[in-house]
């Protein structure tokens, strides 16, 4: 069985000449929970973008569930993205109700109507928003908006979940709640990769920590802490 994620000697250079990733290799097994840590602008987001094919490597190979993401046709990119759920720091919700935000994702990926009726309340209940189904994102707190974004991903039940600074805009209570939700998804079988520069989030849990600096992986520690040498921003 292929690893959930396999990155082999990958370099990413942007058109302006900036090298975002420099010859990195990383393997993440199925069911793992991995923190990707490092200061802002040192390659964490670029690495995640490679996994949902928002970027392609300049050199090297990126495999997700055995699929070489750089060589996928447009229809296969859509299939890959159904297997990869992404949570962003800025939530990226639509100006629709909580129910519609979750239902939209299910409908857009071809879920039958009955399945949508079943999964939307399940997903909203799992993040504690079942009583806010008719509320718009603007009526929700930042923490609730992030929970809604997670509910949207959970409803799709992807085997791989990526979170790019998911607690960056949240207060400590909401941060704890969001991290609990990601841990729960991981316990239920999803592989989870969280990019963060917040030591408190990393140190509160005992998971694998991959540290990045200047586009390179500088340490990879199972059940580790946030490396002090990295700094926070």
């Amino acid at each position: 069985m292929p690893a959930a994620v396999e990155i082999r000697d990958v370099t990413v250079t942007y058109p302006n000449g900036l090298q975002a990733l420099s010859n990195i290799s990383l393997t993440v097994d199925d069911g793992e929970f991995v923190f990707l840590v490092g200061p802002t602008g040192h390659g964490k987001s670029t690495l995640l973008k490679l996994l949902y094919r928002d970027e392609v490597p300049t050199q090297g190979q990126v495999l997700v569930s055995g699929w070489d993401v750089a060589r996928l046709s447009p229809s296969h990119v859509a299939r890959l993205r159904r297997r990869v759920g992404v949570v962003f720091q800025d939530f990226r919700l639509l100006p629709r109700t909580a129910w519609e935000n979750v239902a939209f994702a299910l409908h857009a990926t071809g879920s039958p109507y009955r399945q949508v009726l079943r999964r939307v309340p399940q997903a909203l209940a799992s993040v504690g928003l079942l009583d806010r189904v008719d509320d718009y994102p603007s009526q929700l707190s930042a923490g609730e908006q992030q929970c809604l974004a997670i509910a949207r991903v959970l409803a799709l039940r992807p085997p791989l979940m990526l979170a790019d600074e998911p607690t960056g805009n949240l207060d400590p209570d909401s941060t704890t709640h969001v991290m609990d939700l990601l841990s729960k998804a991981n316990e239920e079988g999803a592989t989870v990769i969280v990019a963060t520069h917040d030591p408190s989030v990393v140190n509160a849990m005992r998971h694998r920590v991959v540290a990045m600096r200047n586009g390179e992986i500088v340490s990879d520690t199972p059940e580790g802490h946030y490396p002090d040498a990295l700094g926070c921003d």
Binding site: G85, R92, L94, G110
Partner: protein
């Protein structure tokens, strides 16, 4: 899966048509104005064509036979001429009949009463197209027993002859129609594309989210294509609602006060309206397709 996708596409299209009324009104009215212009041009060209057709129907070549040429042979020849490919129909006019008609047409017909009939038998030849007049006239001049042909082959082929003018007018109308049609269609695609691009700009978040969660290109593009098509077809329907009654009224007006002006009959209005609706829907579809293509590969700034 496919049914779910179609269901989603239709729901999204309906939702946006309902929610974004201002943008929908902008698109519909833009297309309506554009198709009003296109429809006016098409109706004008149609009317000119009908007029030139009427003119060509009136075009005829008359073959006058020798006075002593046997009538049975003239009738037989008229029958043969009617089978020529360039001839629509022939009409034998006996000299007595021609004389009676002439007397009835002249105001001082009483003065002609005592005159001997000077007219020969003749055959009126109606051609299938004005461009055939010179050839038919030439062929008639070579027919046994024919003394005179009006217009003669030389006259019909002369620059500035009526038949040549009709041919030139028809050709000019056809070329002008094609040129105006292409220009207006291009302008239409450009305008619809820009209008729909505005609509898309307000919805790039949905497009981006759909791409992110793995919606297929069909599912992403189809609601926009349907929307564009429906809005443009509504605009076309609006243009039809103005143009068709206006043309019917104009026709009834000219039938009463200017019977020499031929306008396209009312029976042409249904096909015209259907073609305009189809043109509107195609404009909407093409404009939307161009716009959505430009948005599909973009990664917009979420906060921008």
């Amino acid at each position: 899966m496919l049914w779910a996708a179609i269901d989603f596409v239709c729901r999204e299209a309906a939702l946006h048509l309902r929610r974004e009324r201002l943008i929908a009104i902008a698109t519909i009215s833009t297309v309506a104005v554009l198709l009003l212009v296109l429809g006016t041009v098409v109706l004008f060209l149609l009317d000119v064509r009908v007029w030139t057709d009427e003119m060509s129907r009136a075009l005829e070549v008359s073959a006058y036979f020798e006075r002593d040429f046997p009538r049975e042979k003239v009738e037989q020849i008229a029958e043969e001429i009617s089978r020529w490919p360039a001839v629509r129909e022939t009409e034998f006019v006996a000299k007595e009949e021609g004389w009676e008609w002439l007397k009835s047409q002249l105001a001082s017909s009483t003065q002609l009463k005592d005159l001997e009939n000077p007219l020969p038998d003749r055959v009126r030849v109606h051609v299938t197209s004005p461009s055939n007049v010179p050839d038919v006239a030439k062929q008639l001049e070579e027919v046994e027993g024919v003394k005179d042909v009006v217009p003669s082959a030389a006259d019909a082929g002369r620059r500035g002859s009526f038949s040549r003018r009709v041919v030139q007018a028809r050709r000019a109308v056809a070329y002008a129609g094609i040129a105006v049609g292409i220009l207006v269609a291009l302008a239409g695609i450009f305008i619809v594309h820009n209008t729909i691009r505005l609509a898309l700009h307000s919805r790039w978040r949905e497009i981006y989210i759909m791409q992110l969660i793995g919606a297929t290109r069909f599912v992403i593009a189809a609601p926009f294509l349907i929307e564009g098509m429906i809005q443009a077809a509504l605009g076309a329907a609006l243009a039809c609602c103005i143009l068709v009654p206006a043309h019917m009224y104009l026709r009834s007006l000219t039938a009463r006060s200017a019977p020499f002006v031929f306008l396209a009959p009312d029976s042409n209005m249904l096909p015209f309206a259907l073609i305009l609706l189809l043109a509107g829907a195609l404009l909407g579809l093409t404009g939307s397709a161009i716009s959505i293509r430009r948005y599909m590969g973009r990664r917009p700034d979420w906060h921008g």
